[in-house]
């Protein structure tokens, strides 16, 4: 089977001189769910911007399908006056007519369980609702890969659980950039660890977590009660 | 400084509505060709919108001015210095529209006047000093102060033209208030520009250098007009009104409105400043063509 994502030797330097990515090798298969861990500043966000084509670096990037990016801050992503207009924004840019875009939008909203909020202004919604609507906005474009940047930020535990269930039911491949270890454990089959712009580990989720001591509650850790 | 509905006569507000609509319409249509904001990571429309939201929010930050009083930023000159005059004009216009509709700050029919005073003339006045002399403290301060004074002078002239003569003691008080506001705006603008230079230096728009001769010419013209206005306003207003009466100009019309209601020679001081503003506006427009 052709890989969905095949990246070799990706390098990127920001205009101010920072070497954000120093040779990333990364692969994903269709339908796979991968977690992306790493300290802040290790290049995770820069990397996903390359995946969705917002940045161009050196090296070879091959993505066989559409990438939908869900940003960490839903407020920055829901920029239209009403929910339905926002979710229809993507399809509209793909060349669909207004009616077709709205139909797609409605479908996506139903998929995430937010169809009852179509005329609402994004400002009045809760973090969990905004998150799901942002996902709908991306789903409406029919992506093959969903990339989510810190999707559980600001979510309370029930909302987290709802999000996990939603993501589990989606057939698309998923890349989860997250610090939320239990969340990643629940959804991902594989984890990748970034450090200083390089991939330093790539394997089963629990192995990576243990190897880098990436869980707040660690057996043997003095913080654990 | 926002003029509410009911204070301007139709000839005044209609004219200003027409001027402002044309000016802003022209700038908006040229929005596609606004060079400085074209880059892979920024784009005009969300930038302008978010900056407009910033203006609203920034006006909520209170600056202590002693004696328990506080003032706040108005924003026209800050936006002009950071983002450029065309962008500033568009953003301020939108801010004014929303202030009128959502906060009842300024009238609807008088939007043209308020846009002219604050989004066009005020922005131009706020921009010119740094355009001519760079982004050092004094030009920034001057920009802030002049934008307030220009808007204020225009408000006074428009009220005068509409038959609400403000002269004598009330005029002095108004001018004193404008002066205080101007100084405050200048100081806040300096502080804010410096803070932005430290935190977000990439936000400043690109400026092309202008030749010294042009700078000198503009500066002299502006200075001349300012001196004129100051000299005339220092002349006793009573003497001017007597002169007006002797020439047969009515001060207070009988009807609520009449075509030439209230145009007095005592208005010349405001006219001087208004003329100054007009020169600034032309300078700013001239700049944009490069």
């Amino acid at each position: 089977m052709n890989p969905l994502v095949d990246i070799r030797g990706l390098r990127y330097r920001y205009p101010d001189g920072t070497d954000a990515l120093r040779g990333i090798d990364f692969e994903m298969k269709p339908g796979e769910c991968v977690a992306l861990f790493g300290p802040n500043g290790s290049g995770k966000t820069t990397f996903i911007l390359h995946l969705s084509g917002l940045l161009q670096g050196e090296g070879s990037i091959s993505v066989n399908g559409k990438v939908g990016l869900v940003f960490q801050n839903s407020d920055d992503q829901l920029f239209m006056p009403t929910v339905i207009e926002d979710v229809a924004f993507g399809p509209g840019n793909m060349g669909l007519t207004v009616a077709e875009s709205q139909a797609r939008a409605l479908q996506a909203l139903e998929q995430v369980g937010m169809a009852h909020l179509i005329s609402k202004a994004p400002y009045h919604l809760s973090a969990g609702e905004k998150r799901r609507i942002a996902i709908a906005g991306v789903l409406a474009m029919d992506p093959d890969l969903l990339v989510l940047d810190e999707p559980t930020t600001f979510l309370d535990p029930p909302a987290e659980r709802q999000l996990a269930k939603l993501l589990r039911d989606l057939p698309q491949a998923k890349l989860l950039v997250t610090h939320n270890v239990p969340f990643a454990r629940a959804l991902a089959s594989r984890a990748v660890f970034f450090r200083e712009g390089r991939v330093v580990a790539d394997g089963p989720v629990d192995d990576v977590i243990t190897r880098f001591d990436w869980d707040f509650q660690q057996s043997g850790s003095p913080d654990r009660r | 400084m926002h003029i509410p509905d009911g204070f301007l006569t139709p000839p005044v507000w209609l004219t200003l509505d027409a001027i402002s609509a044309s000016a802003i319409g022209w700038i908006a249509h040229r929005a596609d060709r606004m060079g400085p904001l074209e880059s892979p990571t920024t784009s005009r429309l969300p930038m302008l919108g978010v900056m407009g939201a910033f203006v609203f929010a920034a006006q909520m930050i209170n600056f202590p001015v002693g004696l328990g009083a506080s003032g706040h930023l108005l924003g026209g000159s800050l936006l002009a210095i950071v983002l450029g005059p065309a962008v500033a004009a568009l953003v301020m216009t939108v801010v004014l529209v929303l202030q009128a509709l959502l906060f009842q700050d300024g009238g609807i029919l008088t939007l043209g006047a308020n846009v002219f005073n604050m989004a066009l003339a005020g922005v131009a006045a706020g921009y010119l000093p740094t355009l001519l002399w760079g982004r050092s403290t004094i030009p920034i301060f001057l920009g802030g102060a002049l934008s307030v004074l220009t808007s204020g002078a225009l408000v006074l002239s428009q009220l005068n033209l509409s038959g609400t003569a403000i002269a004598g003691r009330p005029l002095s008080i108004a001018l004193a208030l404008f002066a205080l506001t101007a100084v405050l705006e200048g100081a806040i603008t300096v502080g804010a520009v410096r803070a932005i230079e430290r935190l977000s230096p990439q936000s400043f728009h690109a400026r092309s250098p202008i030749p010294f001769a042009a700078r000198a010419a503009f500066a002299s013209a502006a200075l001349a007009l300012a001196i004129c206005g100051a000299w005339i306003s220092s002349t006793s207003p009573d003497a001017l009104q007597q002169f007006a009466a002797s020439v047969g100009l009515e001060a207070h019309p009988a009807w609520p409105y009449a075509p030439l209601a209230g145009y007095e020679l005592g208005d010349l001081s405001s006219t001087g400043l208004a003329g100054l503003a007009f020169v600034f506006a032309i300078c700013a427009v001239g700049r944009k063509k490069h």
Binding site: L54, F71 | W13, M47, A53, F56, I166, S200
Partner: protein
């Protein structure tokens, strides 16, 4: 931050249901009328607005109180006219400005934001301006909340000194700038190519 006018505009009433363009036209005509009216006509204008308020099912005292926001400034200018000896003029100035404010407020309070921007768009106001309007509206409450948080944090530590307030504006600007870049990235990620349809 819940905005009162915004909330009012989402209610329903016969007035809310009217087409935004019709209401906007009526508003402009009414404002022109108020500006031109002989003083005794202002009473008729007031009666009309009172009726409209009742039809809108909005809380009348609150509405009238909010329209009074315009009064302090008007009072100052009217006072100038009063002391110049023109008392009739002072009264009509106050009346005109209050009624105009009430009319504009009624319009804003019965017409949701998307409706009147759609009306403006259909009147061929430049799309760039409408888009900027939409973005300002979308983010002004968000950024205002940030400003309020900063002010509250400052108050908790003794209030803003001048330099601290200027720094706060700088921070607010930097965050707003970054937010604008984020929004733009999100737009490009969903296919935006530089033009709003």
């Amino acid at each position: 931050m819940r905005h009162l006018v915004d909330q009012w505009s989402r209610r329903s009433s016969p007035l809310h249901a009217l087409d935004a363009r019709a209401k906007l036209t009526a508003l402009l005509l009414l404002l022109a009328g108020i500006s031109l009216s002989q003083p005794w006509w202002l009473l008729a204008d007031f009666a009309f607005l009172l009726t409209a308020t009742v039809v809108s099912r909005l809380p009348t005292p609150a509405l009238f109180k909010r329209a009074a926001f315009v009064l302090p400034l008007s009072a100052v200018i009217a006072a100038v006219a009063w002391f110049s000896g023109d008392t009739a003029r002072a009264a009509t100035l106050l009346g005109r400005s209050y009624l105009s404010a009430l009319a504009a407020l009624l319009f804003a309070a019965t017409t949701p934001f998307p409706a009147w921007t759609a009306a403006l768009r259909s009147w061929r106001i430049p799309p760039a301006l409408i888009s900027i309007l939409q973005f300002v509206y979308r983010y002004m409450f968000v950024i205002a909340e940030e400003a309020q948080t900063m002010s509250a944090a400052a108050r908790a530590r003794g209030g803003f000194r001048f330099s601290a307030a200027a720094a706060a504006i700088g921070v607010l600007f930097a965050r707003s700038w970054q937010r604008a870049e984020s929004v733009h990235r999100a737009m490009i990620a969903r296919g935006y190519r530089g033009r709003f349809t």
